[in-house]
Every structure is written in C-alpha cells, then in structure tokens.
Symmetry: C2
Subunit: 232 residues, 2 copies
DNA sequence: ATGGCGTAACCTGTATACAGCTTGATTTTA
DNA sequence: TAAAATCAAGCTGTATACAGGTTACGCCAT
C-alpha cells in the first residue's frame, strides 16, 4: 500500500472552494505520480466524486487541470485515462529539464536561508535512514518530490519555477517506473549522492552550483536509462 | 476596430466539441492579447455564453484554461478579470524567453522546409507593406503572433515549444501595450529587422542562429523598454 | 463457425437551476 | 450628519438531469 502525503491530513470544516480544489488536485496528481493509478488507468468521474463526497463538476475541473499538466487524456465517450510517455518525449523533457536546472542559478537567484538548509538536512537524514530498507522505492519518490519542492523554493524566477515543476511532474511517474530496475542500492546511492552534492552547494550559498548538480544528476539518470535500454 | 483572425472563419456545421473549445479559446486569447479586453476587464460568463450561443459550462472551461495560462484571474463572487503583469514579472519572463529561444536551435533541431521559407517570406512581405501605414500596431501584433507560430513549428523539442508559447502569450499584451510608445517607425523597423535576420538564418538552414537572433531581439526589446522607463 | 449488426452500458459533454460569495447602494440608527 | 446594518444585484461554484459519443457484448443471419 502506497502511503500518500495528503491521506493523513484532516479536512478542515471551513475549507474554501479553492483549497478543496488544490487538495483534490494534489491528491490525484500524487496518486498518478506514485503509480497508484498507473498509465492506462481509466479514472471515473462518478467514482471519485463519490469518494470525495462531491458532485462531478469539481472533479471535472481537476481532470481538466490534470489534462493540461499532461497527466491524463480526456476522451469523450471513453473516459479519462492516465497517460503514458514514449521514450522520445521522455528524453526531450529530460534534455529540457537539464537546461532549466542550469538556469535556476542564473536567473534572479535568491538567498539561501537557514530554513532551506534545515530542509535539505532533513532530506539527507531521511534518505540515510532508508539505507537498509531495501525496496522502499515509494519513500524515495516522496523524497524526490520534496527535493523538487525545495528547488522550487530556491528558484527566484517565478515562471521558470512554474515550468520546471510542470516538467518534473510530467515525467515523475515514468522515472518512478524505471527506478526498481536500477536496483535498490544504486537507486538509493544515487539519490543520496545528489542530495549531498546539493546540500554542500547550499551551505556555500552557491545556487549556481545547486542548479549545476541538479543538471548533472538528470544527465546521470539519462545515461543510466540509456544503458538499461541498450542491454536487453 | 481590431481585426481578429478568427472572426472571418465560418463555423462549420459538424464542429466537434474539442474544435469548438479551441476556437473559442483562441478567440478569447486573441481578444486579450490584442487588448480588445485590456487588463482589468471583467469578463461575463453569461454574456459570452450568449454571444457564442452556448451555455455557461463550456465557457467556464475556456475561462479555467485562460486562468491556467495566466491571462485571467477567476474570483468567486467577483468575476473573471483580465490580469495585468508587474514589470518585475515581465522582465523575468523576458529573461526566461531569451534562454528558451537559444535552446530552440540546440534541442532536437528540425530541418527547414520550403514551406517554412514561404511562410517567413510572406511575413517579411506583409511587414514591408506596412511601412507607410503609420499606426497599424494591431497588424504588427498579428505578424508577431504568426512569427511565434512559425518559430513553434521550427522547434523540434515539443515541451520546449509548449512552454515557449506559454510565455509568449503571457506577455504578448504587455508588449503590445508598450509598442505605440516606441513610435511607429522604430516599432516597424524593429519588427522588419528581426524578420529579415531570422529569414536569412532560415535560408542557411541554421536553426541555431534563428534562436540566437530571436534571443537578441528579446534583449533589444528589454533594453528599449528600460530606456523608456528610465526617461520620464 | 463466423461475420455483421444492433443494443445496452458506461463514459464525457452540455444545459440549467440553485447555492454561496462579494460588493456597493440604500436604509436605518446613534 | 455619520456610521453601521441591510439588502439587492451580479458574479462564480455546485449539483443534477439529460444529450451525445464510444465500446463491447450478444444475437442473428449467413
């Protein structure tokens, strides 16, 4: 059973409409990214409406947002289907993300605060604690999500931040699909290595290097993947 | 009276739902970008529903898309308001667009076809014909839109193409706001110059230079704007 | 047995009534 | 007179019934 971040959050009584929209949107987005809904899954408006105790209308709004994010395809008369990504597009997005990562340090960089350091320290610790927990890929994925969130906070150029997140969530589930094939030790070591590189750059208040390391790690991922696909 | 591209297009009888959505979306997007609906305008769901002869539901879908594109802000109980952009965000987007333009030639560049040359030739001609038509800023804007469309066609990396367009439309109306302040001759000469530079690069089948010139012109725009804002 | 057709089940799309929110004008009250 | 409360108008948000599209199953004819 996949543990979802939002599951534990109690729904407040006086939740506003926009808040509820965000809550459900993030919930479904995470379910897709963590493969609770693997590619090809048909999502039902009525079923989800019932689950969240509302009508189809707000669910449809969330669906259209997910469609715009590229996570689902809405087909009239058929259903709303979790999308898959072909390898060519996957590589294109990774190439793009590498460039966007480099830009993080170059376009309106911001100051790194102790809070940021605290966050990255926490992520490093969480990852270290997973060392012997072979196969906990879902927890690795949650850490990756939080790292992306941290990098977003470090991105001073708001539109750059926005499209970086867009591209991250668009391929997150595909990355997650391949993760187990790398083997636990390699996957875990890779994540830990990236976190520690980024942490070191953050301690030096060197955002440019943060982006640089991120970019290198994306390339590393591409290389690993290429090797994996070439072998069999 | 602003001449809109879609206005002349006859609505086909057997138009599918998705086609109608695109048609209305493009129509409203252009109205916003060409300042038919200047920033601050309150758009009415019922009025537009009546204009297009449909109910509020599909109009609402278009509104939510426009909101996601950053062109309107939907406020419960108030209305759907055409957004404005502060100068800081404007500059951030231009900085970003400069980088994205450079990438066009570097990420999966495509071959330039005679059709592409034909399109740019046409744009150059249209611009030349405007030389003595002082004050035809709206036609200049339509040409700028078509140029952006052409550059999208030349972008092999699909996600890059997508976010480039996103950023273009987000600031297009702001650019259009400042255009008259440059004076007709300067605005017209600038546009023509960009088109001819890009055309020359295209004839050489040199996409990298196409992106480079685009980037340079975005910088030129920023410089002009900075001078304009510094003077008074 | 098999090919084609019709139909039922299920999906999204649309229209519409109603609820909830915001705002500003109007009325009431100190 | 001024300030506060009230109300009305207009907006978006939600729920729901119905329309339209797609698919797959089953039936029938060949």
């Amino acid at each position: 059973m996949v543990k979802l971040a939002e599951t534990a959050i109690a729904v407040s009584e006086d939740e506003t409409g926009a808040e509820r929209f965000d809550r459900i949107y993030c919930e479904l987005r995470d379910r897709i990214c963590l493969l609770t809904y693997p590619p090809g899954t048909v999502l039902s408006e009525v079923a989800l409406a019932k689950e969240f105790g509302i009508s189809r209308t707000p669910i449809r709004r969330v669906f259209h947002r997910l469609e715009f994010m590229g996570l689902v395809a809405i087909k009239n008369g058929v259903g709303t289907i979790v999308t898959d990504i072909d390898l060519k597009t996957f590589k294109q997005i990774y190439d793009l993300r590498k460039r966007l990562a480099e830009m993080m340090g170059e376009l309106s960089p911001i100051e790194i605060t102790p809070d940021h350091i605290k966050t990255i320290d926490d992520l490093v610790k969480r990852t270290r604690d997973l060392a012997d927990k072979t196969g906990a890929f879902d927890e690795l994925a949650l850490i990756a999500n939080d790292l992306q969130q941290l990098l977003s906070d470090l991105t001073g150029n708001a539109p750059l931040c926005e499209i970086t997140e867009l591209m991250y969530y668009r391929v997150a589930r595909i990355w997650y699909t391949f993760l187990p094939q790398f083997g636990w030790d390699k996957a875990h070591a890779g994540q830990l290595n990236e976190l520690e590189e980024i942490r070191a750059a953050m301690v030096d208040n060197d955002i440019r290097s943060v982006g640089h390391y991120r970019s290198i790690d994306l390339q590393r991922m591409l290389t690993l993947l290429g090797r994996l696909l070439a072998e069999p």
